[in-house]
Amino acid sequence: MNKELLDQWLARLFDRDRRATAKLISWVEDDVEREYIMRAVLKQTGQQMVVGITGPPGAGKSSLVEALTKLYRGKDERVGIVAVDPSSPYSGGAILGDRIRMQAHGTDRDVFIRSMGTRGHLGGVTRSTSDVLRILEGGGYGRLLLETVGVGQSELEIMQIADTVVVVLNPGTGDGIQAIKAGIMEVADVFVINKSDLPGSERMKNDIEMMLNLNCDGKAWRPPVVLTSVIDQNGLETLREKIEAHQLYMLESGQRDERRKERLRQEVWRHWKDRLQVTFENVWQVAQEKWGDLENGDSYELAGELWRRVLREDKWHE
């Protein structure tokens, strides 16, 4: 693509043009001039914190995003939202339905909602999620919200993107043992028990608090557990306040800079990985040609033999 033209699109982004914001997101997602675009965007962004909302499918993540958006709009903040849904492992297609729950802001030009398919990426987000959030920041959206796909127990990549991780759970979905398991329960900065109009929410809160009693000894931030009900409009302002409190804590404790440094390393690692992936695909192509008559033996044996054929190295294992 012509760089002059691209610069014009970038200028339009920084002028808060919604069309340019949307187009640049698509190009970055599709790896069209991604590095050029992102280097321009990252020079001017990175100040705003990201609130990540994660939790199992149907927990109410989209509804909470909408509820929070309403509160932020009440304070005249411009809100940028990235909502991730799964792509089909068969066709690569996706049905992205998070907007359905965010109708109230459908024509509000100070809210930008972008739906993304995971496109084969595991971890609850997509390969370009953090870049897309920065493009939204470049387009003048200061309040950044990220909604992950519905997660199980171990899709934790959100912690590499969000400054505040909100884990949304529902009453009646597990006992005290679930609460002390590793994984998603460990990464929360704020816990939400949504649909708290249903029975069992107090009990669940107790289970989580007990887990926190074990975990948070001596730690400066103890994740609050907030009961919310979007139907009854309960607890939403409290949730907003707790998120605010966590962001303040991140800033004041210097944690934010810590996480940022760590994140930069992670991102560099990811760029390397993408780069090496291309090399790997090429080598794998060559390996296919050398496969020849390989068929007898187990997978370890074949892998070793192929390795020797392609790389002419004896060593397959150290």
Partner: protein
């Protein structure tokens, strides 16, 4: 590495609440490898166009079973024009009489309209034919 994926907004404008058709189409497009943003029910043309812009879709597909097609399609096209987003195509389906289809398509209020009985294969290949040439470099 220009493997740009086709993105489609499937929308239900107006007051009719029958979205089985829209869902069947959304599923078919997903299975054809497209990313489908589903709007949900009761959308205004304004909401659909705003969503189409933010999501940077290549195509809006709307399902109209209420008889309001003569109002809805021209309105969506008009709004796309206002937003300098005329490159986003508009496709529709539903119970639309033949003479209205001719009127709408000839006036440029929609690129294509499908009626009950149209197969999903037909619709998928129309979209592919229409878009794949222009998706190569889309600036």
């Amino acid at each position: 590495m220009n493997k740009t994926r086709i993105r489609v907004l499937v929308g239900k404008p107006g007051l009719d609440g029958h979205d089985r058709g829209a869902k069947v189409i959304a599923r078919a497009l997903r299975d054809a490898g497209m990313e489908v943003i589903y709007s949900g029910l009761h959308q205004t043309p304004e909401q659909l166009v705003e969503a189409a812009i933010q999501e940077d879709v290549d195509l809006i597909g709307v399902s109209v079973l209420s008889g309001a097609h003569m109002t809805i399609f021209p309105r969506i096209k008009e709004l796309l024009k206002e937003q300098n987003a005329e490159d986003i195509l508009l496709m529709g389906g539903g119970t639309i009489p033949e003479e209205d289809i001719v009127t709408l398509v000839e006036a440029g209020h929609a690129e294509a309209l499908f009626t009950p009985g149209a197969t999903t294969t037909e619709i998928v290949s129309w979209i592919r034919d229409r878009l794949e040439a222009s998706k190569e470099v889309s600036v």
